[in-house]
C-alpha cells in the first residue's frame, strides 16, 4: 500500500516535470519567461554549488525554526491557560477573532520600522501568522476533554497539575500536533514572503534579486527549492505527529488499514 503510494507520487511529479519541459519547448509559452525544466535544473545545479545559496538557506531555516518554536510555545501555553480559565476565555474570545484574520504581511511596515530588514522582522511576521494556528487548535483540543474523565480525575483527588498532565494533555495533543503541522507550513511561507518583500537575508531575498536581475531560470530554480522545502517540512511534521500520537486511535487506525 505504502510502496504504491510512493510510486504514484513519484509518477505524478515526473509527469509534472515533463509537462514543464514540454510546454515551453512546444512554444505554448515563451522560453524567456518560463524556461523548460532542464534549464531550471541547470540553474539549480549552479545554485547548489554556490556558498551564498547555502547561507541563504540557513537564514531562511533559522527564521522558520525560531519563529515556529516561539509561536508553538506561546500558542500552547496561552491556549491551555485561556481554555482552562473560563473568565479568560470569555475575555479573549472576541479579541482573538479580531486579531486572527489580520494578514501577517500587513504588519510589514511595522516590522521594518521596528527592526529594519533583520531576522527579527521576519520573526515578527512568522510568529504572528503561525501563533494563531497553534492557539486555535489548542483551544479546540482543551474543549474536547471528556467531562466525565475530568470529574473522575477530580474525585480521585488528582491535583491541578496531574489533571493537566493526565487528562487535558492527552486529549489536546492530537489537536496541538495538527496546529503545529499547519503552523510549520505557514511559518515557511511567511519567512520566505518576509524575505521577498522586506529584503531580509534568505531564500526570498535571493528570489527577489534574481527577479530584479532578469535571471529567470535562477528565479524558478530558487522557487523550486522553496517548494521542496515545504514538502520536506510537511513530511517531517507528519512523521513527528505519527510518532507522538502512536498510542492514539486515529494513528493506530491508520496502521490497521
Amino acid at each position: 500500500m505504502r510502496g504504491l503510494n510512493t510510486a504514484l507520487g513519484a509518477a505524478g511529479l515526473a509527469a509534472f516535470l515533463a509537462l514543464g519541459e514540454a510546454v515551453p519547448r512546444l512554444g505554448l509559452v515563451k522560453e524567456a519567461y518560463f524556461p523548460p525544466t532542464s534549464r531550471i535544473a541547470d540553474a539549480l545545479g549552479t545554485e547548489l554549488s554556490d556558498d551564498t545559496f547555502w547561507t541563504a538557506l540557513g537564514d531562511t531555516l533559522t527564521g522558520w525554526a525560531l519563529g515556529l518554536a516561539i509561536a508553538s510555545t506561546a500558542g500552547i501555553v496561552l491556549g491551555v491557560a485561556i481554555a482552562v480559565v473560563p473568565y479568560l476565555r470569555e475575555a479573549t474570545a472576541s479579541t482573538i477573532e479580531f486579531l486572527r484574520p489580520i494578514p501577517s504581511v500587513a504588519l510589514i511596515p511595522l516590522a521594518v520600522l521596528m527592526y529594519g530588514t533583520e531576522l527579527r522582522s521576519v520573526l515578527l511576521l512568522v510568529v504572528y501568522a503561525s501563533f494563531w494556528q497553534v492557539l486555535i487548535q489548542v483551544l479546540y483540543g482543551v474543549q474536547d476533554v471528556d467531562p466525565v474523565a475530568e470529574e473522575t480525575a477530580r474525585s480521585y483527588g488528582l491535583g491541578p497539575w496531574a489533571r493537566v498532565r493526565h487528562v487535558l494533555w492527552p486529549t489536546a495533543l492530537p489537536y496541538v500536533m495538527t496546529g503545529i503541522r499547519l503552523a510549520a507550513a505557514v511559518a515557511l511561507i511567511l519567512a520566505i514572503t518576509a524575505e521577498l518583500v522586506i529584503g531580509a537575508p534568505g531564500l526570498g531575498a535571493r528570489i527577489a534579486v534574481a527577479q530584479n536581475s532578469q535571471a529567470v531560470p535562477e528565479m524558478y530554480a530558487l522557487i523550486v527549492v522553496t517548494g521542496v522545502l515545504g514538502l520536506l517540512i510537511n513530511v517531517g511534521a507528519r512523521t513527528v505527529e505519527r510518532r507522538a500520537l502512536a498510542w492514539h486511535q486515529s494513528v493506530r487506525g491508520e496502521v490497521a488499514v
Binding site: 515563451k30 501555553v77 485561556i82 521594518v112 529594519g116 530588514t117 491541578p160 521577498l196 532578469q214
Partner: protein
Amino acid sequence: MRRLLAALAAGAFLVTVSACGSSGDGTGSDKSSSGGTTKVKVGVIPIVDVAPLYLGQEKGFFKKQGLELEVSLAQGGAAIVPAVASGQYQFGFSNSTSLMVAQSNNVPVKVVSNGIASTGVQGKDFGALTVKGDSPVKSADQLEGRKVAINTLKNINETAVRESVRKAGGDPDKVKFVELAFDQMPAALDSGQIDAAMVVEPALATVKSQGAREIASPLVDVAPHLTVAMYFTSTSYEQQNAAVVKKFRTALAESLAYADAHPDEARQVVTTYTKIPAAVLAKVTLPAWPADPDRASLDALQKLGQDDGLFKTAPDLDKLLP
C-alpha cells in the same frame, strides 16, 4: 488550580512579549566604533545604480575615511526610508521623488549625496519609454487612451512619462497608467497586455533584445541631467554625527567619480550582488554618477510633481538637500 493557571498565563504572556521584541537596540548601535573605524549600515536596492557603493568599498575609499560599511539589501525604497528614519540604518538610497514626498510629510530625512543621474542623452539613457517593435505608436503623444506601465504610480516615473507625453503635444491625463514591477514589464509588453512600458535597466536591455522600440527618454525630458536617486540619512543622525556624515559623503564622492570613470569595473562589481546574466549586463546602459545633486533638475522635478498632485504640501528642497 486557579492560582496555578493564573501564574501560567502570566508567565506565558511574559514569554510572548519578550520573544516578540524589545531586546531592541534601536538607534544605540550606530556608534559601535572599534579602533577608530565607525560602522555604518547602508540600505540599498540590489540594482545597477548602487554599483559605486560596492566599488568604493572594494577600493577602500570608505576604509580610508575610517568607515566600515555594512550594506543591507532591501527590496525597495518603501522599506529603506522608514528604516533610515527610525535609525535602523544610518544611510539609505532612494529616488528623488520619494525623498521629496517623505520631506513633504515631515519624515526627517536629509540628503547626503547624489545617487544616480540620467545620462542626459535622448535615446541613450538607462531608462526609456518603450513600445513593442510592431506597435503603431511612434511618439509619446500617441499614448493617449493607451495603457502604459510604470513601476510605481504617483512617483518619479509617472512624473517623467507625463512630461514626455506633454512635450510631444499630448494630454497626460488621457493616458491610462498601470502599476507593474520592472521585471514583469518585458513579458507584459511582449504579450500585448500593455501598450508601452517605462523600463529601467536591466529590464530595458531585455525589452530591447525583444525588438522593442524607444519612443522617449522621459528622465531626460524632465531635465537634461536629472538627479534620479540620492543617498540620504536622518536629520537627527546628521545633527549628532556630522563628522561621520561628512566622511561618508567624501568617500561616496570618490566612489561615484571612480565608477563614472571606470564603467567596466562598475559593470564587473554588479555581478557580485545581482544575478544579471553576463549577456544582459554587457548591453546595460549605465547611469551617470556625479557626486552632487543637480539642483535645477530637482526644482524641475518638484514643480512637475506638484502640478501632478504628488505632494500634499510643497516639499522644502532647501531643508532636504545638503
